[in-house]
């Protein structure tokens, strides 16, 4: 879920509605592409939909999801505040919450740079409960 162009490099698969490379599909179909307990690590930049409930089954035991976004993004805020749908299947990795990260290189769905303070990106890491 890295937008049209993922910056993650080799060993990663980009899953996004706009992905020219990787898997171009709706997050609701995630389990059609990845079998149960087949994914060990995910990175989600600037989520624009509720997604936790759709990825839980595919994540391995102790699998992690790194999520980055701004608080004004409601889908990120729900995760940051622990109220997102599907959150009950995850625990926050202790010490993983970071604030003040650079928005440089992160874009909206329309391809323009994120708006707001230059250092307004946040990061949180979730681990699938065993």
């Amino acid at each position: 879920m890295g937008g049209a162009e993922s910056k993650m490099g080799k060993g990663w698969i980009n899953y996004d509605l706009k992905a020219p490379k990787g898997i171009k599909d709706d997050i609701a179909n995630f389990s059609k592409h990845f079998g149960a307990a087949s994914v060990s690590e995910m990175v989600v930049n600037n989520p624009r939909a509720s997604f936790l409930a759709h990825i839980t089954e595919a994540l391995k035991k102790d699998g992690t999801v790194t999520i980055r976004g701004q608080i004004a993004n409601r889908y990120f805020k729900e995760i940051w505040n622990g109220t997102a749908k599907g959150m009950e299947n995850f625990e926050v990795v202790p010490g993983s919450k970071k604030t003040g990260l650079s928005i440089e290189g992160h874009t909206n769905s329309n391809g323009t740079q994120l708006r707001g303070d230059a250092n307004s990106l946040n990061e949180i890491i979730l681990k699938k409960k065993t």
Binding site: A4, A72, R74, K77, N110, G111, T112, R115, G116, D117
Partner: protein, 171 residues
């Protein structure tokens, strides 16, 4: 015009919406938005959507902080009557300039206004008032410019602001 209380449900998502001006009057703030998002818990159609034209109104504002790439702009409304207030994070700007802001507004209530003629679509089909790297413009510049003008505010929204309205633009 339909009016919804967005204070508790938090169903309004300004993150990928386009705006141009903030209108301030009588301790209230009104922002016209193109392509505002609705979360799936919204009372309009109960599914994740975007709206072509709508208005987000902040009642009895205590303070507003606009965080831009170039610094912070803060407003203290000296509205100390509020003991219990809502903290709302919104995105402002994005129309015809790239100096948008992430704003933090503390206020008494959030009201969402949607015209009876508004179009509501899936986020896969966003309303775009200018050409962007990923989406082509599908709302004319004339229509967008007109929508963002103060004299085009509907009476229901304008009535919140009173006779003396201040306009804030980020350039």
């Amino acid at each position: 015009m339909r009016q919804y209380d967005a204070s508790i449900l938090e169903f309004v998502d300004t993150y990928e919406a386009y705006s141009n001006s903030i209108f301030i009057g009588q301790n209230h703030v009104a922002i016209p938005y193109i392509n505002i998002g609705l979360m799936s818990n919204n009372p309009i159609n109960n599914q994740q959507s975007v709206v072509d034209y709508s208005y987000y109104v902040f009642k009895e504002v205590v303070s507003m902080h606009l965080n831009t790439r170039n610094g912070t702009l803060s407003f203290d409304f000296n509205n100390n009557t509020q003991e219990d207030y809502i903290t709302e994070h919104i995105i402002f700007g994005g129309y015809q300039n790239d100096n948008g802001a992430e704003a933090i507004v503390k206020c008494e209530a959030l009201i969402f206004f949607i015209p009876l003629t508004a179009k509501v679509e899936s986020p896969r089909h966003p309303f775009v008032p200018m050409n962007t790297p990923n989406f082509k413009q599908n709302i004319s510049t004339e229509s967008a410019d007109a929508f963002f003008r103060i004299d085009q505010l509907p009476l229901e929204v304008r009535s919140f602001l009173g006779a003396c309205v201040h306009t804030l633009n980020l350039k």
